[in-house]
Subunit: 263 residues, 2 copies
């Protein structure tokens, strides 16, 4: 018996034809967000293929983040409602334009219930962190690890690292919320940050992140690293935030600076 009877029509593999057809229906609204897809059995019969082939097709959509399997109910079209993540919020309270205001408002946490868990530790930071803090190998850092929830769902991870020698015995070492902000505490300690370098990486999550953030399959994350510097150029804080792609928009605004000479 041939293994590939149903595939010989076009040239694309059968499973791709199936996933493409479903993709189409999701794109054009035939299958709106939250709708249930046909079951594996349905598709197996409809296309006259083996179950493995159908599962491969559905797997494609799952890995593309379009569809979520909810055992044992079936496959459903994914819904997403990203929140605004605004790195600048910490140093500029209000957006400087009406458009920005409207944008933030549209994606706001209106009435959703925030919660967070803070944990403080002294660690030898990972090499990439140590490098940004300009620590020698073996030098220690304090880290405030936070998990933030919204309506009981994990929302993002935020780890802030500080050189241990400047925050030791300060308020930063206590695992409680600092209402006036950790940055203000740093400033009181004599290390006011005046500039920051932001980096955003886009990648798939680690299994640990999948677990802690309860990520569905096919959900990439933004990995945001912010390094804060004093006026003297000393790095005093590295904040690492892991942002699930299906729950965030990273957003910031810019203002053109006076042109100095030719562009």
């Amino acid at each position: 018996m041939d293994g590939m009877s149903a595939m010989r029509s076009g040239r694309a593999p059968m499973y791709q034809q199936i996933s493409e057809a479903l993709r189409q229906q999701i794109a054009d609204g035939t299958l709106p967000a939250g709708a249930q897809l046909p079951t594996e059995a349905d598709l197996t019969e409809r296309y006259g293929v083996g179950r493995g082939t159908v599962r491969q097709a559905l797997g494609d959509l799952v890995n593309a983040g379009l569809v979520v399997p909810q055992r044992p109910r079936g496959y459903f079209v994914r819904e997403r409602r990203p929140m605004v993540f605004r790195p600048q919020a910490e140093f500029r309270k209000r957006p400087f334009s009406a458009e920005m205001d409207a944008f933030v408002l549209e994606h706001s946490a209106d009435g959703r219930e925030p919660r967070q868990l803070i944990e403080v530790a002294i660690v030898e930071p990972a090499p990439d962190i140590a490098k940004r803090l300009q620590l020698e190998p073996g030098q220690l850092a304090a880290v405030r690890r936070r998990i933030r929830w919204l309506d009981g769902e994990p929302f993002n991870l935020n780890d802030s690292y500080f050189p241990l020698d400047i925050v030791r015995e300060s308020e930063i070492m206590r695992p409680e919320d600092i209402t006036r902000g950790a940055n203000e505490v740093l400033a009181e300690l004599g290390y006011r940050q005046v500039t920051a370098l932001d980096e955003v990486y886009v990648r798939m999550p680690t299994p640990d992140e999948v677990h802690r953030l309860e990520l569905g399959p096919g959900t990439p994350v933004g990995y945001h690293v912010c390094t804060g510097y004093t006026a003297e150029g000393k790095p005093v804080r590295v904040a690492v935030t892991v942002l699930p792609g299906d729950r965030h928009v990273i957003s910031y605004e810019r203002r053109w600076e006076p042109q100095d000479g030719a562009e």
Copy 2:
């Protein structure tokens, strides 16, 4: 015959145990970037499981972006060397701190050969673009579509939209490189941008993006939308950039503004 003989040891499915073991070896450097993994046949024998199970394990790693299958050579640990994508570059030539300079330099295109292909069209923009440009339904926009390569590899997609009525018959409509920048042309037309709103979304690519950017499986993209406004608050440009996660770091810098009152 049982279907699951080999799985009954722990509680995690066999394929996860296999992928976890490989993940470990990648993480600790036993399998460095570029190294070849054991073949499917190797793993099938080593773990005493069916080929399907092994393929599921490897599929995990592929979808996590850690491994790339190179038929018919085998599976290899992925290499990545992200380039800096600096949205601010267009309006601030040089980073304002030495740290930033160093960072950009470290991820620079040193000696790699850039190339781009420009295409201009008049379109009815997608709803999200139309909304940002504040266009009425049916109003048209000009779009400059660019694909950029580096050393013959596609690097990113960049589509810039302009309200048609303000750029018609300007230089922007010609599919050639504009050395002094499209922003400068806009300014000459009387629409100088003074602020911009940046949004970054993180998601899996569409099949079209996979094709145009030659993305490997398990490669998420950053979707960067920049809306530029004139002093009067009129949006005059929307630039959409699709950035493969394995080839980019998005980066920008900030400067703390004078504190106004409490916070």
